[in-house]
Amino acid sequence: MVVLAKSLEDRIDESQKLGLQVIKESEDDRLMTLNVGPQHPGSGHFRFTVKVDGDYIVYADPDPGYVHRGEEKMCEYRNFIQNIPHLERPVIHDSTNITYSYSLAVEELVGIQVPRRGQFIRAIASELNRQVYTLYWLAIYGIFLGHSTMFMWPTGDRELFIDLLEALTGARVTHAFNIPGGVRNDIPNGFKDRCLRQIAYFEKRLKEYEDIFYNNPLLRQRTEGVGILTKEDAIKLGVTGSVLRASGIPYDIRKAEPYDIYNEIDFKVQYMKTGDSFARSYVPFLDMRESCHIMRQLLDKMPESGEVRSKLQPNPKGAPGEAYRRVESGRGALGYYIISDGTPKAYRVKISVGSFRNMLALPYLLVGAKLGDMPSIYWSLNYWPVEADR
């Protein structure tokens, strides 16, 4: 906590000497409580209470739950296949990745292998969806900092990736594409060329993003040195994803625990060492660039033909036991802990999402920051309120 007024008693004594009527002021009267969200333009489906002393935030308390759907409870009532469409609701912009680790965990329980071509298509869809999510995130980060062009450009370029995903999966946002055993369908004709063209275009655009946004001196002034999360604190708070990598820990599930095809892909884990708001906003950008690189390799190495899905029995039963599988989503590690009791329905599903873990860092970073830094700290945490609530 920031130290407040030096002494209230002193001031009261002064006014008594002057013969004024004293209204006793408490520490809380000095502070103004601001309710950020859920109607605030800078919050999303989320509320946090901040108390400000002048321009400094002295207290912050997140209050999620406005979009809590009880996904974990719902999973206990549906069988493994029925769960997929509703499980992608928490983060529809990253819907392939949130069903990816679910599929991995169910495959482990059911004991099936994904065909090689299916693994590649999964990874392509996952990378495309990561771009979609990160562009959306970047657009909101832009408008949170008052940069309206950075809102429009990523939103526009995101459309192109959505078109690609639509060609691949048939749906624009909620794909339900990953299923236990592989993917729903094969890639359409000409998809590879279209994808490569889009990647080439997008890499050009990324340079423009960097010029207008990340190299803007006003942005740097505003975000550098703001809300620093040190390496030790990042480990202690257990943050994940870009927030962790911005604090100097090159940790990526795709490298740490390569799932499916990722151990054949050559890529670097992007990280920065400063741990400030700028680094947290720049790491996803670097990830997008690296993701283009990964997608090129995936398209290059993908087998020309083959099965995309291994056959499942109509109502698959999991072997009694449990599985915990993770993937790297747009917001970091996304894990599913599934306990099966041998029936077609899961006994317990726990979704460990990156947003929920990153939320713990929010009050720590906000306290002591200025009110003007609130949006840049909040959104740089790569926090998706709907995902955190599940």
Partner: protein, 187 residues
């Protein structure tokens, strides 16, 4: 039901993709999951019978401990083994055995060789008087997870600073929703 969880045989996993990725990344001539066994044996040698090993698989380990020793064992895991954060805290309700199992999935950022490993630290408490000591002082990262477990399963974490509502509506006046006797309407 819970026994079957623990009796999960290792052979099921030979075919899984997890085992495959493991053999690709680690040295191939090494016996399966010997590193994990070594890790777990460090805990069992220190705490003996208080730790029950549930399973050891490539990259995944699960130990079940008694709730009296959980803080001590968690501190040992943090300080000596290098698992420095909790990824999730999952509570599971077992009405047949009249107990609630709380699992801490612990991971490590500081040790590179533990990057893909998850140590599941499980403990049990009675359903009627669900109380557990908090691990907040050992792993700071469990703060919100434990708070969520409190409201979803009604497990009171002793020593936790805020055992209160988190995700549910402010006027929630029903039993904790992840307990098995809570039924979704119409299902």
């Amino acid at each position: 039901m819970n026994q079957s969880t623990e009796n999960r045989s290792n052979s099921n996993f030979q075919s899984s993709s997890l085992a495959k990725s493991k053999t690709d990344t680690q040295a191939k001539n090494e016996p399966e999951s010997s590193f994990e066994k070594k890790l777990v044996s460090e805990i069992t040698s220190k705490f003996g019978d208080n730790v029950k090993v549930s399973y050891i698989r490539p990259l995944r380990m699960k130990i079940i401990v008694n709730q009296e020793y959980i803080v001590e064992i968690a501190t040992f895991i943090r300080d000596s083994l290098g698992f420095d954060h909790a990824e999730s805290v999952a509570g599971t309700d077992y009405p047949k055995d009249n107990k609630i199992e709380v699992i801490y999935h612990l991971g490590s950022y500081s040790r590179d060789d533990l990057a893909g490993h998850i140590l599941a630290l499980a403990t049990h408490t009675s359903r009627d008087d669900a109380r557990l000591p908090t691990l907040m002082n050992v792993f700071k990262s469990v703060e919100y997870h434990e708070r969520e477990t409190f409201e979803m399963l009604g497990v009171y974490f002793e020593g936790h600073n805020r055992n209160e509502r988190f995700l549910l509506p402010e006027d929630w006046a029903d039993i904790p929703p992840l307990r098995k006797e809570f039924r979704i309407k119409g299902r």
